[in-house]
Symmetry: C2
Subunit: 211 residues, 2 copies
C-alpha cells in the first residue's frame, strides 16, 4: 500500500502520544516540527479516515472521556510496522523552490535597493525563526526518567538552529557585498533608513508556527 507523507506523520505522532485527535495532531505539528513540516486539516482528516480503514490506526477513548465530541486514535500493530518500514527507507529530497533566492538571482532587473530590501526581510524572518526555535528548545527538557525521543528531537532542533544561524551569517556578508556592488541611492550610506511596515499580513494567515 502507498501512503503520502501526511499518513506517516500521523503514525509517527501516535507512536509518541497515543490518543491524539486530528485537532491535536495539527497543533502538535505546528508546535514541535512546524519549522520543518506543515500539515493542514484538509490533509489530516482524510488521512485519518484512510488509515482507520486500512487498520493501521484505530479509534480510541471516544469523546465520553473528559471532553465530548472528539475522536482520539491509537496505533495498531500493523500501523507500527508500517511506520518502521517507512523509517527504514531512504528519504526523498523535496523539490527545491526558494522564492527569496529567485528574486535575488533576477535582482539586476529590479529597482535599485530591492535586493537589499529582500535581504533585510530575509534576515528579519530568520531572526524570528531563531527565536521560535529557542522557545521550543526551552520547552523540551526536564524529564526525570529521560524521554527516549529527546535525543532525536534535539538533533532536529539543532539542525534548525545551525541552518538559521548560517543563513543569518550569510545575510550579513551578502549585505556588505551588495553595498559594494550597488552604489544604491546614497553611495556612502549602506541602506535607506525609512523602511518600516512591510506588508506581511496576507501571507501569514494559514500554517502557523514557522517564522
Amino acid at each position: 500500500m502507498k501512503h503520502n507523507a501526511t499518513s506517516y506523520v500521523i503514525l509517527g505522532l501516535l507512536s509518541i502520544e497515543p490518543g491524539h485527535s486530528g485537532y491535536d495532531m495539527r497543533k502538535a505539528v505546528q508546535g514541535s516540527i512546524g519549522y520543518f513540516w506543515g500539515e493542514s486539516y484538509g490533509q489530516i482528516y482524510p488521512a485519518l479516515k484512510l488509515l482507520t480503514g486500512e487498520g493501521l490506526i484505530a479509534r480510541s477513548g471516544t469523546g465520553s472521556n473528559g471532553r465530548k465530541r472528539r475522536q482520539g486514535y491509537v496505533l495498531t500493530e500493523a500501523g507500527r510496522r508500517c511506520l518502521r518500514e517507512w523509517l527504514a527507507v531512504p528519504f526523498h529530497d523535496e523539490p527545491p523552490r526558494n522564492e527569496f533566492l529567485l528574486k535575488l538571482f533576477f535582482a539586476r532587473e529590479a529597482a535599485p535597493g530591492a535586493a537589499a530590501a529582500h535581504l533585510r526581510d530575509f534576515e528579519e524572518r530568520n531572526l524570528r525563526m531563531l527565536d521560535a526555535l529557542k522557545k521550543i528548545e526551552a520547552s523540551v527538557p526536564a524529564d526525570k526518567p529521560p524521554n527516549p525521543h529527546q535525543p532525536y528531537w534535539l538533533l532536529t532542533l539543532g539542525f534548525g538552529k545551525a541552518l538559521t544561524t548560517a543563513a543569518l551569517a550569510w545575510g550579513e556578508s551578502a549585505r556588505a557585498e551588495l553595498a559594494a556592488a550597488e552604489p544604491s541611492t546614497a553611495p556612502s550610506a549602506r541602506v535607506p533608513k525609512k523602511r518600516a511596515a512591510r506588508k506581511t499580513a496576507s501571507s501569514r494567515k494559514h500554517r502557523g508556527g514557522k517564522h
Copy 2:
C-alpha cells in the same frame, strides 16, 4: 493579473537571455538555479502560451533561423514591467517539508542504526551538492565587460555553499551525538562498515541538477 512562479521564472530568464525557447529555459533552470528551483515542461509550455496571450512575451526569430522547429521568445515592455513589479514585492516562504528531519524526529521508533544511516545519506547528498555548486561557480566568471548579473548570481551561489557547508558541519556533530545516545550494534565502532549501494535510482528520474 495573477501569475504563478513559473511565469516569473520565464520573464526573468528572458530578461537575461532574450530568444530562449521553452526547451532552453528548462535547461537553463537546471544548470544555473537548479539548486534552489525546479521547473518541468508541464509547467513551462502552458505558461509560455499564457504569457504570449497576455502580451508579456512575444515569439521571436522562429525556427527558420539556424535550427528548425524551435520557438524563441523575447520580453515585451509590458513583460519587463510585470517582472519588475514582482521583484519589488516581498517573497513568500515556501511551506517547509523536510522528510529527512521528519524521519530523524521519529527515529526512536526505527530499527537501531536507521538514524545513523539517514545521517550518512544526508551528508553524502550534501557533498554532491557542494561539488555541483563549485562546478557552477567555476563556469560563471570570466567576462571582459563584467556581466551585470554576476554579483547577484554569486550571492545566490554563496548562499548555497554556506547552507550546504553548515549542513555538513551539523551532520558531523550530529553523528557524534547519535553515537553517544545510541549504543548501536557495536558499542565502540561508530557505524556499521558495509553500507554500499543504497537504492537511489527511482527517485532521480526527473528534475535534474540538484544533489
